[in-house]
Point group: C2
Chain length 225, copies 2
Amino acid sequence: MMEDAPMEDLSVCGYAWAPPFVHGLVRDLRVRWALREAELPYNMNYIAFGEHKSPQFLARHPFGQVPTFKMNGTELFESGAIVYAIGLRSEKLLPLDEEGRLRTISWMFAALNTVEPPISALPAQELANNDRGWARLSLPDEVAVIDERLSRLSDWLGQHEFLADRFTCADILMTTVLRELRSTDILEGYPLLAAYVRKCEARRAFKEALDEQIGGYLLNAPLAA
Amino acid sequence: MMEDAPMEDLSVCGYAWAPPFVHGLVRDLRVRWALREAELPYNMNYIAFGEHKSPQFLARHPFGQVPTFKMNGTELFESGAIVYAIGLRSEKLLPLDEEGRLRTISWMFAALNTVEPPISALPAQELANNDRGWARLSLPDEVAVIDERLSRLSDWLGQHEFLADRFTCADILMTTVLRELRSTDILEGYPLLAAYVRKCEARRAFKEALDEQIGGYLLNAPLAA
């Protein structure tokens, strides 16, 4: 079989199993989603949950985090950087012209350095809590910062279908960032953002990536759980 | 005069004045530093502090933040994206080979999505406080997350002179992130990190960018202050 370009050797490292409250949130989801949008075949590599702070894994990732991504022998880390590297291989994720590319990169950093930080500042137990009004009541200052960012983002998405001119890897990052709020009621105050997340989650590549991640966790669930 | 390449029209937008506790921290410093490392001439554009949330400025920057960067008519936002765009114009900041480039991008995202978020989660008044032990005493959980990230970073910099193979735009981002801790005593626990920051701050391009930012603020200080 003839190919236009040599097949690359791509592999993603994630957890074999993770506790249910992070299913669908662990960041290898971003990478699997991007690879499926780009229609690039990849292998999965797994480490045990907890093993990410072992000396062996720290030799692969300086901060001991998941995912890592191996591309023809080069190991990359940080989901934002990995999704960008995949974008460089597919016009479906990243425009070819410099202006479009740099606008997309602006939105990638906006997702990870402007919108995500105040969300990840909410304590993990807050995000895992089932009483969905709790965050707003118990952490009013923290939620106010999130509200300010989400209001601006909602204004933008009221006038634009996607962050850049069309669906790009910036939307992969922003959608997965907004999903981190799923156990709170914060997103309910922003119907345009909720609709944007639903629209991106309806993409086949997202659904396949999510099924793959959660299916793996269920398959590898500890017998005692 | 002959030039190898046409001169580009580059301009940075920052605050005309900002309150003293953020002098040397406002993020246009990253952009000015990168431009000076790359030896690219640029113009400065100023807005009044507070004007960044005006409808006029929000039309330029969806989140109403400083800096923005105009490059031949394209306006970019997010300091990470702007520094990357400058890196694409100078091998001094970003290696030309793909592997070196992707490693540098991994470290850029690590600075802004792994190291900076727990630091920016410290309340602003905490960072402005003069009692340098206060953060550690009053926010033990928040400081524990910072400590975990700084320990990993210190391990890396104990074995590497810079984040990537040599000084790159990732070091500009990481240095300015670590400077955000200056009013706390947290960095004192990491002599390798303190030395890394001092080494990067000793670069001529950093000193010129810092002088330019602070000099502008002093020149435009309100008479009443």
